[in-house]
């Protein structure tokens, strides 16, 4: 089966998966014993029977559940994710508002995690049991065990408040005009519009939240790459490579890394999808207007359309990341390509 066929098959398979997700989602959000009118209407208009009747009809709440589900599916197929009860905006529009900040944060954190995590893992694998390995272990452990609402406050306190090395919370300095919206990604938009001041300000605002959010992923990458490489280093082909006189650096980069990193690809895929689905605590501490905050508000208000929208978005992100990882495998591991 060619790669193209494989991809198409996977894409088609996504349809029933999405159907399953929407159904599950619909059932879960609708069995909660809450009156959605309480969200749609205000305290005072709840007392107006006319307003109640109008809202019930407008949002289709008077229809039986299966019918509500079909209406929902029908709209979804046409790209209409519904209108948020709370913001009264199309959910699609809301997602578009909040997604860019999350993408920027997720990519930044991911880059930080890989750039630091991978070398740390490799070094500690090569020098296992030596001080550098212990340091890496402690560093990773800190990243994996410190909750971001604590470590986030801590780095803000030290690097922003005490030392003044990093900017405070937010995506950009309040006294600088944010770049004109093109993609919603401040870094990209400021480059497109040639606003260098905004570019540097948003870049510097990314540093602390990316470190905090990426630290956990960094820890995962460092630990898994270490054990994976150590395992590979005991393999026969490594001994062979050494035996034929290959210098150690090449043994590691050419032979150990390529094989040792395969399990990491899956991990990184999942980690990236995780970063993309929003980091509520990090977003809260750093006043970052991302998808995580939107999701929390949606669920706190039992805003069905918004909850469904966010969940679908995250499901789709995971599906595509998994697909991407699978494709990447075929390049990394010839055995998969062969089969």
């Amino acid at each position: 089966m060619s790669l193209i066929q494989h991809i198409i098959r996977r894409l088609v398979l996504m349809i029933p998966m999405l159907m399953g997700i929407t159904l599950l989602l619909f059932i879960v959000t609708h069995i909660v014993p809450v009156d959605p009118l309480a969200v749609i209407l205000t305290e005072k208009s709840m007392e107006d029977p006319e307003a109640v009747a109008a809202a019930t009809a407008k949002w289709g709440l008077d229809k039986p559940l299966p019918e509500q589900y079909l209406i929902y599916l029908n709209n979804l197929v046409r790209g209409d994710m519904g209108t948020s009860f709370k913001t009264k905006n199309p959910v699609f529009k809301d997602l578009k508002t909040f997604l860019p900040a999350t993408i920027e944060l997720a990519i930044g954190s991911f880059i930080f995690a890989i750039l630091l995590g991978l070398p740390l893992g490799i070094i500690s694998a090569v020098h296992s049991g030596r001080p550098v390995d212990h340091f890496t272990r402690v560093f990773s452990l800190l990243g994996a065990s410190m909750p971001p609402f604590w470590s986030g406050l801590l780095v803000l306190f030290v690097f922003y408040y005490l030392l003044g090395w990093a900017p405070g919370p937010g995506r950009i300095d309040a006294r600088i005009d944010s770049p004109d919206q093109v993609t919603g990604l401040f870094l990209v938009d400021s480059l497109i519009t040639g606003n260098t001041e905004a570019f540097w300000s948003s870049l510097s605002h990314l540093i602390l939240p990316c470190i905090i959010l990426g630290w956990f992923t960094l820890a995962l990458i460092a630990r898994i790459s270490r054990s994976s490489i150590m395992e590979v280093m005991t393999q026969d082909y490594i001994r062979t490579a050494r035996a034929k006189g290959q210098i150690e650096r090449l043994v590691i980069t050419r032979h150990a890394l390529r094989n040792g990193l395969i399990p990491l690809v899956t991990l990184m895929g999942l980690a990236f999808a995780g970063l993309m689905s929003g980091a509520i605590m990090t977003e809260t501490i750093f006043a970052w207007p991302g998808i995580g905050r939107y999701a929390v508000d949606a669920s706190a208000n039992l805003d069905y359309p918004a909850i469904s929208g966010v969940t679908l978005l995250i499901a789709v992100i995971y599906m595509f990341v998994n697909l991407f990882v699978d494709i990447l495998y075929t390049f990394l591991d010839p055995r998969i390509r062969e089969s």
Binding site: V32, P33, V34, D35, A38, V39, T42, E43, K44, S45, M46, E47, A51, A54, K86, T87, K88, D94, T97, F98, A101, L116, P119, L120, I123, V126, P131, V132, F135, T136, V138, F139, L142, F149, W150, L153, L154, V155, L156, F157, V158, Y160, Y161, G164, G168, P169, G170, R171, A174, R175, S178, T284, I285, A287, P289, R293, D297, A300, N301, L302
Partner: protein, 593 residues
Amino acid sequence: MKLNRVLLFVVVVVALTTSLVACAPQATPEVEQPAEPVAPAATTAPAEPVAPAETEAPVATEAPVVTEPPAEPAAGGTLVLAMNLNDVVTLDPGYAGETTNLFIHINTYDTLVDIRPDDLNTIVPRLAESWEVNPEFTEFTFHLREDAKFASGNPVTAEDVVFSWNRLINIAGAPAFNLDGVGKIEALDEYTVKVTTAPDENGVLQPLPQFLASACNPSLGIQDSKLVKEHGGTDAADAAETDKAKEWLDQNSAGSGPFVMTKWSPKASIELVANQNYWKGAPNFERVVINHVEDPSTKLQMLERGDADMLDSLDPDLMDMAMGNPDIVTSVDTSLDMNYLAMVYTCPEDVQAQSQESYDALMSPESHEIICKKAFRQAVAYAIDYDGITQAVLSGYGTRAPSIIPLGIMGVDPAKVQGRDLEKAKALLAEAGYPDGATIDLYYGSSPTREIVAAKLQSDLAEVGITANLQPLEQSVYLSEMRAQKLPMAFGGWTPDYLDVTMWTDYFGLGDRSIAFRMWFKNEESHALAEEIRTTSDPAAREAAVVKIQEVWMEEMPFTMLYQLQYIHAFRKELQGFKFHPVWFVDLFELSK
């Protein structure tokens, strides 16, 4: 050796991190903010809807002819605020019903009349130079100042008032209730607007004594009808479906206020620029950026570093830290926001007589059976350690009124506050028929603060032998259940939308309204008094009724106030002119640096 350099880098990073962790204890953990971001003050009585028949205009000189960009720009500079903007979901005055909106709208739109922070007793002119109210409170005539222009340059006319208010009514969004009871809004001439109340079923016009106070609500600010129409707005009867201006009004303002909104990034920031056409003159700041920051300690850090000039509120736990900084000024202000405990008034058998369905739906019917006894409710009120709750939840930054109308409102006498009295509580418990105590269920919408209140209530009640089983619910579930009249005992908060006593007497006193309805408080005396307060035009008679209704409430005890919040405001010492308002926070026009 390449590897060694990498190693050195790693060692440095790790060392830095560990030293970082070592100085950890100073970091302040996340603390829940006491309440809504918009906080402000009020120690005097709110405005009574006394109609000052003819009030002279404050600045009624000839209309300045504004041409081109004004000769003299604003003194300049950017004012930066750090606020919690979490509640903002829209900034269209037709839809917005949240606390922060009031602050944004009062600074971007002008209301016809106003209640200023320094005198909450008096309704003063704003866009309306003067007004007349008939003795029946059914007709209100406003005379607009003729020199006011919108930021767009369009003149403010009676048509704009008609458009703005009809749009509000017909969109029927969250703020539409401010115009409840209004029947007709008409432009008599270019600068005269007449509002007539709606008739009841017999065709008699309903009195609306609180209308002037409600017209001070920032949601009733006047929109530039030309501009809003250009962006798809309409005030037609079907505006709920056909008005398309929301998307534009979420990002821009269309008012005549001192500032113009130019951008809103949800959960990030709101940006305002000075309205150079403002009829009072150009504001002191050219630009105002309101940044969304949730974490209280981070907010204070921003203030200390000068990245923010002012905060919406300061967490009481951070008060010492702020006081230690000579560059920061703090001020403690009593708000009109309060938290109350509500207890069911009607016994299950009477509920059943009214509706079998309601009876079947009651949650914890055994608790209903106990709490519906008056002496039991009184016992509960005497058993609560109010000072202890204020200390535990607000670090002492709170006060309390005798009933559920907050201190500062007319007819509320702080001397009548009843505190804790365990002996009395025990005696009343015996009188209710529970000398050995009783077990009841206490419901509430869960939040970190409410968990503390609940635990405190539980231990207070235990001291007189009442076992309170805590029943925390997710907030939206809690509201649904309470609205469905199911709960025997519950606690929550109340924030006024306008400064009139009906804000409390209607919703807590009329048996078919809001909290009174939800807790089955169907008491004829309370209902009659609340109705009287609604409809009486004589201020003295009104005040007397307010005094009386509180006596009824304190006797029947369907509600007891747990605490009235005080807020701490913090700003840089350079900032001048800061005055709090209990509804809309602060007038940015008054601020300068």
